[in-house]
Structures are given as C-alpha cells and as structure tokens.
Amino acid sequence: MSDKTTLTPLDRPNSYVGRTLSRTSAKRAVAGRGHYTDDVILPRMVHSAFVRSPYAHARIGSIDVAAAKRAPGVVLAMTGAELKDMCAMSWHGVLACFEGMKAAHQYPMAVDRACWQGEPVVMVVADTRARAEDACELVAIEWEELPVVAEKTTALDPATPAIHPELGDNLAFRKTIERGDVDAAFRAADFVIEETFEFGRHTAVTLEPRALVAEYDRGTERLTITTSSQVPHMIMTVFARTLGLPEHNVRVIAPDVGGAFGMKIHSYGDELATTAAAIKLGRPVKFIADRLESFVTDIHAREHRITGKMAVSRTGEIQALEIDDLSAAGAYSQYPRTSVFEANQVLTITGGPYKHQNYRGRTTVVYLNKVPTSQYRAVGHPIGISVAEHLIDRAAELAGIDPVDIRRMNVMEDDSYPRLTSTGLKAQDMSHQACIEKLMKAMDYGALRAEQESLRRKGIWRGIGLATFIKGTAPGPHGFYGLGGAPIASQDACVIRLEPSGGIICAVGVTDQGQGVDTVMGQIAATALGVPPDQVRVIEGDTDATPYGGGTYASRATAIGGEATYQAARALRSEILRLAGALLQADPSTLDIVDGKVVDAANGTFRISLAEIGRIGHFQVAELPDDVQPVLSATRRFRLLEKPYIFTNGIHGAHVEVDVDTGFIRHLRHWVVEDCGRVVNPLLADEQVRGGCVQGLGGALYEHCVYDDTAQLQNGTLADYLVPMAAEMPDIAVDHVQTPTQETELGAKGVGESGTGAAPAVLMCAVNDALRPFGARVTRQPMTPEIILTALGKI
C-alpha cells in the first residue's frame, strides 16, 4: 500500500519487519520460569497489608493501632495521617488541557475521611503477609458514616451533597464540541434516530494483581522499586516527587508483568505507602494486592449513560450526529492522568469513521463515592463506537438498505485524506473502504445473510453485526500529557550500542507486558542495522538501564518507541560504517551492512565483521587514525510533531445466535480487518487484536462492577464478577490493510486496542440484528440474559 517508490531498509529482502518471529521470552514463560514482582524475595523482606474503608463515605475518628503493633511479626503500623507527613505533595488529578476541570487533592491513604469502599486507611507491615493481615484485624477505627453519592444521574442535583465541599458540587468536567450546523441538519433530516445507552462500570482484572517491592539503602539513599508497571519512568518521577526524593536516586524496575491493559499506568496509594514503609524501615517491603482488594482499588472504567441522536436522509446519508454523555468518575480524579480522559475520548471518536460534518458532543463527568476511574484499554472507544454503530444500523433499517451499504456510503473515502473527522480531528492514511471490502470477503457476508433468513424460518435467531471504527493511538505532546502539565513522556527513546563482540544492546523506554514489545524492537533494530535479530538484545523496564520514556500506553510502543529505535539503529549503522570506512580506507557510502557484516554496497563482497569493528573500537583503538574517535552508540528520540494521535481504522464483523427463551447469546464467529499501518510482526499483531477483542467482549457480555445504593460493591470476587472464559469465546479471524503512517519512516501505527474498542459495538449490533424480527432492541451493556429477556418483553 506504500506510495514510497524508493526501496527503504524496511522493504529489503533481508528485512525482519513484516516477519513472524517467536517472542524472546516465550520459552521462559512456558517453562514456568517467568519472573514477576511476587517472585522477588529479598533478605529481611517484610510485607504490607491494608485496613481499607468498609464504607463508601465516612469520617475517620480515632484510630487505635496499639494492638496491631503488639501482634506477632508486626514491624510497623502507619495511618494515613502519618503517611501524609512523609509526603512532599498531594495528588491532584487535573490536566491543563481539560479546561475547567475540578478535582480534590488526595493523599495516598485516607487522612480524616474515606471517600470510597476500599480506600486504604492504615498500613500494617509484618514478617509475613498473613500476619500483616491478622494484625489489620486488630486495628480499631471510629467511623462516622457520611452521606453517600452513588448515582451519577442525581450527582449534580442541588440536594445531593458535594463529596468534596471545596469543589462546590460533584462536577468534575464538562465539555462541548460543536461543528457545522447541527440544528439545521436535524430540521432537514428525513429520519431522526434517538436512543439512550447504558454502559456498566468494569475493570481490568489482570491475572497478576498489582504488585510492588520497595527497598531503600540508607547508606546510598537509593530507592529501588520493583513493580508490575507499564510506566516505570512515570512511577519513578511520581513516587520521587511525592516522597520528596531526588529522582535520580530512584530506580524502578518492571520485571515480567502479568497483564496490565492500562490499569498499570496509574499511581496507587497502597503502592506509595509500601514504598514509604521501606524508607521508614530501611528494609524491603512487598505489597501484592489480593483479588478482593484489586476489585476495590484497581481503577474502574466505562460507567456511562449516553444519548445519541442521528439525522439521516432518505437514501441513508448521515447528516448530523449529536451525543450527550454522562459518566461517573470515582471519589477522586486518578493522579496523574485524571479520570476524564475516557469522557473526552467518547466526545472525539464517536461517529469518527463517517464523513458528515455536523456534530455536537456534550460530556459531563461527575464524582461518586466509588473506586476512581481512569484509562483502561481502548479508553472511551467501546462507548463511542457502540453508540454510533447502533444508530447507523437503525438508520439503515429506516432507509431500507443493508447495514454494509450504509457504511460504504458514509465512511470517509480512502482517497480523501488528509482531512478532518466529523469531530474535528486531523486524520490521514486511513482505509475504511478497503477494510470493509476485505471483511465482506472474509465473512462471506452474502452467504451469512442467506443462512440467517433460512434459519429464521426454523426458529433459530442469528444476527450479523458490523462495526467500523477509528482508534486514536500513539498520542503526541500536542495532545494531552505534555501540554496538560503531567510528568508523562509522550516522546520515547532508544539508546543502541555496539559491544566488543559485535552484539547490539538496544535499550528502550517502551515496555513489554507480553505483547512482544521487546521482540518487535529487536526486529526493527536488526532491520535498520542490517544484522540478524539474535545479534540484538533489547533492554526494557528498568529506569537505570533505559532512556527516559513514556513506557507502554495508548498503543504507542511500536508506533513511537519503534520509530525511535529505527532512527537510533540507523544512526548506529552510520557510525559503524564511518569506522569501517576509516579502517578499510573506503568511502562509507560505498559500504553496507548485511547479515551482521560490512560489505561492498555494489556487489555484496565481504569487507569486515561487526565483531571486528567492535573489537577494534573498544580494545584496539590505536589501529584507528587519530582523528577518528569511535562512539559506538547512538541515541534517538521520537515524538509526533503536530497531530494529537496517529489514527488507525478498521471494521469488525460478528455472527451470534440468541436463545430467545433463555436470553443467552452464543458468539459464533468474529472477524476483524484493521489498518495499523506497517505490521512489524504479523503473528504478534494478530494476537493483540484477538486478545483485545475478547477483553471488549467481556465488557459487552459479562463484566460489571455492581454497586448498591450505598456504593458498596456487590460482586468483588472472581466468583461473582464474570470474565470471558475459553468456552464462551469464538474463533477470531484477523486481517490487515496496511497503510503506513506518513508521520514516521517505520510507518507503524498502534494495534493493541483496536480489538477492545469495537468488539462491544459489533456484538451489540449482532444481537440487535438477531432480535430485529421481534421488534426488540438492546442498548445496555453488559448484555446479560436478563437484559435480553427484558428487551424481548419476557420478564
């Protein structure tokens, strides 16, 4: 798909970009030799456990820790007030880019008031976790229950008390986008479709819970944190600043991470408290969240009530779209990324694939006495995509055209870029039309429709869903964090060097949580340099060993970190050829590196090995002319220059069967065609999409943090909070259209979230397609049997 006429290193026959290579860490994982944070065992290590608020909102009276301190094995009991005294700053989750946003200041543990069930109040540290938990039982706290704000629709009523009186009310953020003449378009429309949707709050449920081991060396004043994190540099900066330590004395290591999905890009109070305990005690302290506390402390996401309204012509042309979204943050705005990103994303991506230019979006975010919400895989996209795709299916029905034809008619044309999306974002290098046609072939869409028709006559109710999408990936410094004032890098970096052996060490700021980021960086570096991948070792996840970077979030690792790696490796290649030229008395431009050897560019004749250059460059430097000083390494950084995101696009297809007596949904088959630009490793890219789909399907079918009206979580165990298991999930066919982004030489866009973003939408479209003969519609997620049967009027 590339327009580039010159052959780049990426297209050469010996390129490793575009090839499936096995992940370097896979063999270790299958042998049970992975190394996760809980596998770290240090001399004199002790364990923290937390007394957490049993109430959603309560004033803390006296706290008696005397009995806990006397309990066997206990070395420390610390209250929130004592921890506050160790903090150089509070956490205030606002960003300047969210104009008018309000948030309360927060300390890592509750000080005089707990604002959600699960908020840490007292930390107990003992020689075993079990004993620390025993001692937590002995902590006596005087609680005075306060009024609870549990419902978002009434959170702004004058009668509802403000959770944080200093904010005046429970409003976190409000924003409107208006483009074109929306009201005129609605007046002129042949059809207006309006619907209100509910999306249930859910959470990441990483199989490895949050985990941290902190150790403090009083002699060197070095703090070392090993933690299951996507963003070691951000943790280094935030924890150092919060505890008033020099950042350069803090090292953060992220070893193997057992699932993250955005949940592990945030700073959590219990983790900071554990770090403070290590400083206070001068000995290592470990904290591993158990599953029960994960449910009441890991960030939640997606609690939205949203009304969507679409204006459509008789022929099916979308003329305007309007949304009004109300979403519920928790008790605080999660520091440092805030709790309003999701709402902002909904505002900017809803209806994003379509070319209409009349759009009005309103969003309101309110605080509730619940677990704080924040970024979780595919932030906001499941909501925005579900709304637009449902409305367009209804439009197709009214206009009497097929769901695929109405999408064909309304998507931005593949030859129309660069352009603005309907919500006003700059878009380029997208391929909706190509993706739709590829999906039609993959699904054998016509045959599915025919089968659907014949099965309906037998009382079998199958549905076919389609969901086009755009996905914002790889945010740049002009978007949010940098401009917003948060200590979060949107640039990323690679330091690459040639070792005496000829081996290449490639240290990157992006991190791996099992996606294969390290393998992909190795493929890119090997290709740019001209060496086999096994000659490259990638280092990630250690702030002492890697250049400062943003880590992995927002589908940025390959797009941003990959380009930095590509540029660094190209620079190292130039350096190697410079030295080779000096040694061989040849013009470097006549030389090339192929398969780890310097050769004549013209005819491929072997000239000198990289090992020989490494040996001379490090040891036999006297062989070089006096004016040639070997550097043998290169550092490059990359950031997006102008655009807020590199947008990707694609389309999902789904085939489901609904049992209209039980309300059960059988998901038969799922297809995805997406455009993540240049695919570096096809197998790993496909698996990101597949895994992402199932994560999205979980939210669409099962996952729901159910709260009662006192904001008590009702299903905080894995027995009660359902996640997708193998038997319920379908096979997922994945294909790509590759339109390289023009923002980088590598041409890669993000791929990690496009499954999660559109899977809930396509499933809801498919279910509604199955229910169409009954005149029933589902607009709530998760789509439980109860919701289906209610829609059918059976209960």
Partner: protein
Amino acid sequence: MNDEETLQIALTVNGERVTRTVTVRQHLVDFLRNELGLTGSHLGCEHGICGACSVRVDGAVVRGCLMLAVQADGSEVITIEGLSDSGEIADLQERFVERNAMQCGYCTPGMLLTAAELLAKGKPATREEIRTFLSGNFCRCTGYHAIVDAVESTLNRRIGGAGR
C-alpha cells in the same frame, strides 16, 4: 484454633522428597512458592476460580490455592517446573511458543497443566471440547484462540493426525 499452629509434612515435589514444618493455614501454592522457591505456580484469585495456581497432586490437576499444604502430606506433587523438566509436555510447549499462545505468561503454567490432562487422555477432541476443557483457566491476554490452536495441533500430532 491458632492460625500459627504448625505441622510437619513430608511429600514428593517434582520427584524430590521434601520435609518441612508449615503453618496449618498455609495453602499449597504459598508453600510451593515461598518455602520451595517454585515460583512457576501463580496466584490469581486465591478462591479457586482463575486456575493460575493449578498443580498436579497424585495425578490429578487441582487448585493449589484451595488445598492446604498440610493436606498434601504424603502426596506426590508436580508443578510446572517438574512437568517442564520431565519433557512430558515439550511438544505442547513448543506449539505454545510457535503459536504465541501466551502473552503475559501468568496463566500459562496453569493452562499447560490443564491442557496436559486433556492430552494425556489421548482421545480426539473438537475445538469446542478443548475450549470446554480449558474453561477453568482464565487468560486475560490471548482471547484463547491461540491456546486452542496450540492444544489442538499438539493433540492432532500426538494421535497421528486424527480428528482434523
């Protein structure tokens, strides 16, 4: 009862005789991880749902978090480390790597223990049957498709291509 009460237990773990004094409340996986350093068995929920802690006890795959260490007294326990070193699932592990049937790797040991039990039956299985068999093991990363592929192709190779 005193939670800190201890008992001596003797068992075989991955073919090695082990004798330890353990607190009566310690579950089997905490024992394997903390006392024996066998960190391949993971804890995901500690209430028997997720399957990350699966180990083989006297030939059957059990939830290591739902069994106390003292209940394993006299038993023969096989963990992922032992299963891996024995070569019993070398083919399955190879398929997992080739198919990228793991991402973060946290569920993988438990998933392999469970899949090994299915493979040991030596009978053909459809993809649906494989999915059902693996349904007690939660994987948040892969979406299961790759795992089913890896188990299916191992099974087919073991039984000589039948069941395709």
